[in-house]
């Protein structure tokens, strides 16, 4: 079981935490036929089956350059076909929420952010909360008002499968988004300075996350780190050291055995810790 840092428990309890859900969280969902959403890597792997020749794309994937690989795939398949396979992967199968989604919702974080296009978490959260949770996309013009407001929000930082035209997925889209939606990135940066980010089911390769964290470390010389949970052995220890030092990230490792059961159990324990801490806050009113 993960030993949760006191600051994490405290920040979530005081709702000064952004929970960031990566594709690893969506992976826990299945649909009625037992299908699971693919990770970025798996999705691109399956997308190139009909492309020939494909050795150049396979090489990009091997080098972890998913952005360029994705851009090439999109160009070769054509926009329409690409949109079709994206929808086919993330919308059509109707994935159901998994236990981990329920536990994350129980943490009652005010802000949950996710680069996932699928709607698994937001659908679950809104069905539980009778639609009272606001879902904001990176291209919405009023994200700021929601963050300043008091409602619970879900930030879709790369868009939603409901509007496939506006997804941030390929290299060109990433590049364009940074200028086009610069105000949104400013907001994310502001959040990273004032809130603790807890990354669940994310890798360290997402260019947005990288940029965000490197900036906040070097610009503002922050000593208070964000937290990322990673399965053991997904990175070499020396790499972890570099990442911790350059991205201001505290990486906590857990065993990925048994379908990441340790992650689910640890988040379940975190829910209890947060509830107890909030009970305490209710008494000392020191929030």
């Amino acid at each position: 079981m993960i030993k949760w840092p006191k600051e994490v428990v405290s920040d979530i309890s005081r709702r000064r935490c952004v929970i960031f859900l990566g594709s690893g969280i969506s992976r826990n969902s299945v649909n009625t036929t037992g299908r699971r959403p693919k990770t970025w890597y798996q999705f691109l792997q399956s997308a190139i089956t009909d492309i020939n020749p494909k050795a150049h794309i396979s090489k990009l994937l091997k080098d972890n350059d998913y952005l360029t690989a994705c851009e090439v795939v999109k160009r070769q398949l054509g926009k329409e076909e690409f949109t079709r396979i994206v929808r086919e992967e993330f919308l059509v199968p109707a994935y159901q929420p998994a236990d981990i989604h329920k536990k994350i919702f129980s943490l009652d974080s005010r802000i949950v952010a996710t680069p996932n296009f699928d709607k698994i978490y937001e659908t679950y959260a809104n069905s539980e909360a009778n639609g009272s949770i606001v879902v904001k996309q990176h291209y919405d013009s009023d994200v700021m008002s929601s963050i300043r407001g008091s409602e619970r929000i879900i930030l879709k930082v790369h868009g939603t499968i409901d509007s496939p035209d506006k997804l941030i997925f390929t290299r060109a889209e990433y590049a364009e988004a940074r200028t086009k939606y610069s105000s949104f990135y400013e907001l994310l940066e502001a959040l990273s300075l004032t809130h603790t980010f807890l990354f669940l089911g994310c890798g360290v390769n997402d260019p947005d996350i990288k940029l965000l964290l490197e900036d906040s470390l070097f610009k503002h010389n922050s000593s208070r780190s964000h937290v990322m949970l990673l399965p053991k052995k997904s990175l070499h220890n020396s790499v972890i050291e570099v990442i911790q030092d350059t991205m201001n990230l505290n990486i906590i490792q857990y065993s990925g055995a048994n379908n990441h059961i340790e992650l689910l159990e640890s988040v379940t324990e975190l829910v209890d810790l947060v509830e107890a801490e909030r009970e305490e806050l209710k008494i000392n009113m020191n929030w």
């Binding site: 919702f105 943490l107 539980e128 909360a129 009778n130 949770i133 619970r152 509830e275 305490e280």
Partner: protein, 336 residues
Amino acid sequence: MKSIVFFNNKGGVGKTTLLCNMAAYLSIKKSKKVLIIDADPQCNSTTYILSEEKLESIYGKSKRDSIESFLSPVRKAKGYLEKRINPVKSERFKVDIIPGDPRLSLSEDLLATDWKSATSGDPRGLQTTLVFEHLKLQYEEYDYIFFDVGPSLGAINRSVLIACDYFVIPMAVDVFSLMALENINLSLTKWRKGIEDGLKKYEEEENEPYEIYDKEFQWSLKFSGYVLQQYKAKTVRGEKVHVKAYEKISKEIPAAIEREIHSITKDHLTLDNLFLGEIENLHSLVPMSQTTNAPIFSLKSKDGVVGAHFQKVQYSEGIYSSIAKKLLSNIGDSDD
């Protein structure tokens, strides 16, 4: 009609919350007609389920319809109240209530003095003691009458228990709740013997059994289960406290229920059946439900529910549903 009293002489065990929400659950989800009689001079269930405007309209008058309406004629030696009063409706709990009254405490003395003569078969003493039996018979059209009583083993509660068909014990997992069980045992044994002696002596003297409205009265109180109020492990300055004591005491509870309550009520229910359920800490929902005068399981966003507390609202409905199911089966009613 079946009457059930929720009773524990240890206070602060979530008695009123449990009673009112069970009443609302049976009414809203099971279409039962439920009447709450607030026989606690502190009037907690009345303030819980009625809005402030309604309370103002009831208590603003000098002559008000409340539980006191039934007691004051008895106190003045005028016999039982002739015309029943109209219960008040609670909008959101969907149950009716005979409102409580702080003046009910004034009857404690009378009920205490007349008890002695009740146990020796004196008709006047029996009449006073059985005032709640008479009250109950006025509202036969209800499926269930729930009595809320204060946390005492005094004369008012004795009279209520004598009049009821069943009792439920809401309790907390603490050492005082365990001690309270022993007191309940001693009192129930004494009261039962007292009233049965009185009825026997009355019958010997008058050559007929004691009747209210041509119905022979008999002690019929049966135990129909207990509910635990659960505390989560608390962290105080980073240290978990109470956990050890909680586990130790919660293990002792079934044996104490068996020894102190089950053994004297001698019903056919197993100890397992008698455990109706455990109510988890529902955080902000209890105060929210009190300020909006609404059942916990039907709180909405307009009442102030936000975020993950909706999960708790649903969770609470599950708890009440399972407690209701067990309770109904324990009193021989079906769940549909």
